[in-house]
Symmetry: D3
Subunit: 270 residues, 6 copies
Amino acid sequence: MSQYQAFSVELADNIAHVQINRPEKINSMNAAFWSEIIEIFQWIDDTDEARVVVLSGAGKHFSSGIDLMMLAGVANEMGKDVGRNARLLRRKILQLQASFNAVDNCRKPVLAAIQGYCLGGAIDLIAACDMRYAAEDAQFSIKEIDIGMAADVGTLQRLPRIIGDGMLRELAYTGRTFGADEARSIGLVNRVYSDAAGLLDGVMGIAREIAAKSPIAVTGTKEMISYMRDHRIDDGLEYVATWNAAMLQSTDLRVAMAAHMSKQKPEFLD
Amino acid sequence: MSQYQAFSVELADNIAHVQINRPEKINSMNAAFWSEIIEIFQWIDDTDEARVVVLSGAGKHFSSGIDLMMLAGVANEMGKDVGRNARLLRRKILQLQASFNAVDNCRKPVLAAIQGYCLGGAIDLIAACDMRYAAEDAQFSIKEIDIGMAADVGTLQRLPRIIGDGMLRELAYTGRTFGADEARSIGLVNRVYSDAAGLLDGVMGIAREIAAKSPIAVTGTKEMISYMRDHRIDDGLEYVATWNAAMLQSTDLRVAMAAHMSKQKPEFLD
Amino acid sequence: MSQYQAFSVELADNIAHVQINRPEKINSMNAAFWSEIIEIFQWIDDTDEARVVVLSGAGKHFSSGIDLMMLAGVANEMGKDVGRNARLLRRKILQLQASFNAVDNCRKPVLAAIQGYCLGGAIDLIAACDMRYAAEDAQFSIKEIDIGMAADVGTLQRLPRIIGDGMLRELAYTGRTFGADEARSIGLVNRVYSDAAGLLDGVMGIAREIAAKSPIAVTGTKEMISYMRDHRIDDGLEYVATWNAAMLQSTDLRVAMAAHMSKQKPEFLD
Amino acid sequence: MSQYQAFSVELADNIAHVQINRPEKINSMNAAFWSEIIEIFQWIDDTDEARVVVLSGAGKHFSSGIDLMMLAGVANEMGKDVGRNARLLRRKILQLQASFNAVDNCRKPVLAAIQGYCLGGAIDLIAACDMRYAAEDAQFSIKEIDIGMAADVGTLQRLPRIIGDGMLRELAYTGRTFGADEARSIGLVNRVYSDAAGLLDGVMGIAREIAAKSPIAVTGTKEMISYMRDHRIDDGLEYVATWNAAMLQSTDLRVAMAAHMSKQKPEFLD
Amino acid sequence: MSQYQAFSVELADNIAHVQINRPEKINSMNAAFWSEIIEIFQWIDDTDEARVVVLSGAGKHFSSGIDLMMLAGVANEMGKDVGRNARLLRRKILQLQASFNAVDNCRKPVLAAIQGYCLGGAIDLIAACDMRYAAEDAQFSIKEIDIGMAADVGTLQRLPRIIGDGMLRELAYTGRTFGADEARSIGLVNRVYSDAAGLLDGVMGIAREIAAKSPIAVTGTKEMISYMRDHRIDDGLEYVATWNAAMLQSTDLRVAMAAHMSKQKPEFLD
Amino acid sequence: MSQYQAFSVELADNIAHVQINRPEKINSMNAAFWSEIIEIFQWIDDTDEARVVVLSGAGKHFSSGIDLMMLAGVANEMGKDVGRNARLLRRKILQLQASFNAVDNCRKPVLAAIQGYCLGGAIDLIAACDMRYAAEDAQFSIKEIDIGMAADVGTLQRLPRIIGDGMLRELAYTGRTFGADEARSIGLVNRVYSDAAGLLDGVMGIAREIAAKSPIAVTGTKEMISYMRDHRIDDGLEYVATWNAAMLQSTDLRVAMAAHMSKQKPEFLD
C-alpha cells in the first residue's frame, strides 16, 4: 500500500478504509484524486485480504466535487478545430469516467459514509458505490447544471437505477440542495446517523458484518446484482447458474454449513 | 402559435404553458386532442425560446381520459376480415401512441400539474411527462381494465420506470382509485399542494428555476436521463461523452462560470 | 386437479388458492415441492376458469426456504472431475430456476400472502409473484449469504426490479432479518395486515376484484408489465399494439362498455 | 397521388413504381427529394392497393447521392456557438435520416433497381430497401469518406446487417468504387442483369410474384425479418406468435389453401 | 431409448442418429412428430454418451414440412370470440416453437443431412440445427408464404443469423424453390454431396470427428456461439470467462495436452 | 516508441506497422506479447500521427497462437479450493481478453497481413482487427478445441460477426485446417495475394489509401461500424447524429470539399 496525495488508505480486519484526504480543499477532486482512485481500487480488487470497502471524506465534508482548476486545465489544451477539440474532450471525459468505473467494477462491496457537502462530482462518485449512509448534516446537490453542463461522470447514468425517475429529474434539472432525510426517503441513502462519528461507527459495523461472510458468496452476490442493472432476468438466471457451477464447489459452503450446524461463527479463507 | 380546439397554449418567460381546455367535457381526449398535441409539442421542440413546459387541465379536473366516442368511431371502421381489422387496429394504436411519444420525445422538460380526475388515458399522458405534481383532491385510476382492455398508449410501458413493480400491478389489475398522498408515496408525483391554485403556483415556480438554467445543459440532462430508461450504464457513459464532446465547447460553460465567480445570475442564450 | 405432497390446491370463484402444505417442516421446499409447483402452475395456466392465484403457506410460517437435505443430495451426485461437476451443477440450478419461472410465466396474476418466516428460497419464490402482502409478524431474510453462496433461483435477478438497489445490496450482503413494515416501506410488500387471518381475507378480497375483470384484459396487462422488466419502451409500445390488434376484437370490450353504461356488473367469459 | 418534383410515381397491378426523376442532375438528392420521399412512402404505407414497391432512377444512373448545394445550405445556418451549432446539426441529421427511415419502415417490400452511379447517399438509400438488383454497369461507392465525414444517413448502420463486416470496412474506409459483380458476391445485390432494360424487366417480374401473394402474409413476413435485425431470437419467436394470433384468423389462409387444393391461382383482398 | 412413431433413433459411437421416419408421407410433420422431437432431444441432452447428433430424413426426401391435417385440427378448435381464439392460437404457436427450441437448445451439435424436399416447416427445423449439409437433389422453399401466412416456427427468426438479409427476403417473399448449389453459395448449407448415400457418409464422418473431441470443450463452444447470436461482444467475453473458470479445471485439458505431446489420440470421458 | 521483446513497431507515413517478432518461436504469444500489445495499441490510440495500423508476423508464419508455457504457468498458481481457483482463472482470462480488446478498441483501422500459420490465439487476434488479408500459403485453424477447451479470448465472440454461422460452427467444433481461398470465400479475409511479399505490399497500399483520408472521418467511420456489431439500427442512427453534431464542424469537410472542387489531393491535419 503506497502513499497517496488525495487519499489515506487503511486495511484492517478485512476492511479497506479509503478516505478522501484533502479537508482543507473540502475534499475537492484534483488530478491526483482522479488517477489515485484507479490505483487504489485496482489494488483492493487484487488484494484478497480486503473483503469490503468503506469510502469516506476527512473533515467536515464528504466532497465538494471536481476541482474547478482541473476543468480550466482542459480548456487550455483546446485548439482551433472544433472536430479535434471534440476528439480531445471525448477522451478526457472517458478518462474521468474510468476513475469511477474502477469503484463500480471493484468486486468487493463499497459503502459510502457521507457528512456535510456532497456536491456535483461527489454525487457521481457515491452513485458508483454499493450503498450510501449519511449523517444528519449531509447536503446533496447535482451541481453540474449550474456549471452549464450535463453531468457526465456517472450521476445521470447510475442514479436512475437507485432513485425514482420523477424526483431524479427534478433534482437534476434544478440542482437544488437536499438533505439527509430526503435522501433516505428517495432511496439514495440507506440510513441516517445523527453525526459524523456515529455515521462512521455505524458504517464500520455493517462493513464488519459483511467481512465476516464468505468472500466467495459476497463477491458473487455483488456480481449478480450489478449485472441485473443492465441485463434481462433470463440472462441473469443463466449467468448465475454458470457462475455457481464453479462456486458451489468451493469449500465455503461446507464451512458455512458446519458453522450453522454447530452454531459457531464460520471462518472463511480470504 | 396557432389556435387549438382542445388546448390553450401560452409562451411567456421561456415557459410554455399547455392547458387541456375542454373543461365542460372533463378535458376528455377527443380527435382534436390527439392530433393537436403532436403539433404543439413539435412547435415547442422547434422553438428555442420555449425552455420548459407546464402541462395542466382547465377547470376542476386534469382529464378523464380518452373520449369514448373516439373508440366507437374506430369500431365503425372495422370490416369482416379479422386479419385486416387487426392491421387497421394496430395502425390506429400506433397513431395514438405517437401523440404521447411527442410529449416524451420533446427535448424540453415537461411538468404535469394535476388536480381532480386523472383517469385512464390521462395516466398514459402524465407517464410521458418528466415530473408530476398534484393537488390534494387529485384522483388517479388506471381505468383501462374496466373497459376490458390492456392500456396501450403508454401507462404499462412507462410507469414501470417511475413507480414500483408490485404496487403498479395492483393498481393496473384492479383499476382502483388512489389519491394524491398515495401517488406521492409511490413516487408517481413529486409533491402535493393543498389546492389547484397552489399547485399551479408551485409548478410554475419550479419551471422558472429550470428556465433560468443553461438550455444546453437542461436538454442534455433530459436526453441522458431518458436514454437511461432503456440503455446500459456503459452505453450511457459513452453516449454522454460523445454528446458533451460538442456541448462542452458551448459558451454556456463560460457564462455559468463567470456568473458563479461574480455571484450573479447568469443569462443564457435560448 | 390431482393430489400433491407439498401443496394443497383449491379452485373456487375463479380463484386458485395454492398453499404450501408442510407446516410441520416450516413449509421448507423439498423435492416434491420443486416438481409439483411446475405441474400446478402449468395446470393453472391451461385452465381458463382460474383467473387469479393466491399463494400462501399453511401454519405459522410462509416458508423457511429450501430443504437442506435436498442440497446434500446434490452434493452426493458429484464426482471427481471439476468440469463435469460444473456441468451437473449448472443443470441442477437451471432446473430449480424452472420451478419459479413457472410462477413468473403464469399468465394469471399471482398474489403472495406472507406470515411468519419467509427465508432464503422463499424470497426467491415471492419475487416471482406479481404482488406480495404480509402479516405484521412476517420476517424476511436473504439467507443464502449465510450458506456461503450467492442466491441463484431468482432473488438477485428479480428483486432489483421490485425494491431499490441500495437497500437490496445491504439486505443481500448481510442477510439481516427485516420485518413487515420495512418490507412495505421498501416496496417489497404492498400492504401489511395485523394477523394471518386478516391477511388471507384481505388478499382474497383483492383476488376477487381481479377475478371480476375481463380475463383478456388482465392477462394482457400482466404480459405487458412483465415484458417491460426487460424491454425498451419503444419495443413495449409496439408489442402492445400488436397484442391489442387481436384482443380489441374480443367481445369483452362490448360487455365492459355495456355494463359501464347500464351501471351493472359485467360478466365475462373465462 | 400528387405530382412530385424529384420523383415520378406510378401504381399499377398492385406495384408502386417510385422513380427518382432528375436525370439531368444524375438524380442527386435535393431538398425536394428528402421531403417528397417521406410523403410518397407514407402514401404507399396507407394505400392497401400498393402491395410492393420498385425504386429506380430515371436515365443512365441510379443516383449520385446528396446534392452538395444542400450541405452548403446547412453550413449557412450555422452561428458562432459550437453548442448551438451542434444542436442544429444533430436535428438536421435526424431529419435526413427520417427520410430513409420512411423507406425502411414501409410495411411493403421495396426492391431497388440500380444502374450506373450509386454513390454516397444512394448507398444509404438502397441499404434501407428490402432487396437490391443491379445492371452490369452499376458503380457503387461509399463516397462520404471523401467529403471528410462519416456517413450518417444509414449506410454504416444498415449495411452491416447486409454485407460482411470485413469487406464493409474496406469499402467504407477507402471509398473505392466497386462494380455489380463484386456487389453480388458480397451480398449487396441479389442478381445482376446485363443492362438497365433487362434490370427493370427482371425486377418488375419479381415484384409481380410478390404482389400475387397474400398481402397479410407478405407484410407479416417483412415485419418479422426487419424485427430480427435488432432483436433476440426468443423475442422474435414470441413476437411472431403474438402477431399470428390475429393474422391466422384472416381469410387469406382459407383462400390460399383452397387455391392450393384446386391448383388455381389465389386472389387475395388488398 | 423408446420407440417413436415419427422417428427412428440410434445411438452408436457417441453419435445419436435421429431420422424422421414417415417416408410414405414425405416425412411431413404430424402431431407425433411435434411431441416426440422434444422427448428425443431432451433425452439426448441428458445422455452424456451422446456427444453429437445427426438429423436426417428416411427415403427420398428430408421433409415436406408441417402436415396440413394438423393445421386443420387447430382450425376446428376455434370458437366465436376473436380474443379467445387469439389466446388459443398464440399458445399453439408457442407450443410448436418449443419443439424446435428443443433442437436449438440441445447442448450437443446437431448436423442436418438434407436430400430431396426441404419445404416450409423443414426449413424452420434445419434453421435450428448447428450445420446443414445437402445432396445435389435437395430442393428448398420457404413455403409458408403460399399458405397465406408468415412463417412462425423459426425460419424468419433464425435464418437471418445464417444467410444474408437481401437474399433471405427474396426467398421469403416469393417462396421460390432453390437448389443445393444456391443453398451453399448463400451459406445455408456447408457442403453439397453428389447423392444421399454420399451425404450421409460425409455427415457421419464430420460427426465422428466432433465426437472424438472433448465433450466439455464441444458443448462449451456451442454454448458460446449460440450465445453470440443474441448478445454483445463484451457480454460474450465475460460469459466465456465465467464459464471457463470452471471448465478449465476439468481433466480434459490435461488429457488433450498429454495426447498432443505424445502424438496420440486422446480419450475423453463422456 | 520504446523497444519491445515480442514486437517490432514502426511509424512512417502515418502508418504504424506492428510486427510480431519472434519468428524462431513461430511468433507464439508469450507473456511479453500479451502485455506489450496493450502498451503498443494504447500508444497508437494516443498518437494522432498514427492514422492506420498494419499488423503482421515476422518470418514464415503469422503466429502459432498462445505459448503453451504460459498456460502451464497459470496451472501452477492454482490451489486446492475450486471456488478460489475459479476466481483466479476468471481474472486471468479477463486479462488475456483485455490484450485483444486493446486492438479492437483502437480508434484507428487495423489491417492484418497473414502468411503461413494462423492458429488458435492467432485467430482470436485477427478477429479483433478491422480487415484481414492473406498470402496463398496461409493456414487457419480454430485450434482450441484440440486443447480440450472452448476458445476464450475472442474467436467465438467476434467471428460470428465476420463469417457465416453454419461454417463457423463446423470450423470451431472440428478445428480443421483451412486455407486462404476458403478463408476468402467465407469472408474471413478480403483478398488473397500470391506470396508474403505481395501481401505486405498490397496491405501497405490499402493502408496508404486510408491514411490519406480525413482522420476525423476515418475514426468516426470505424466507431460507427464497430458500434453496429452490438447495437440496434435506431440507436446507431441516433449515435452518429450525436457524433457528427461535433465532427461536421471540423475543418476537414472544407478541406475535402476544396480538394474535390480543385481536383487536388487534400491534406488533413493529424
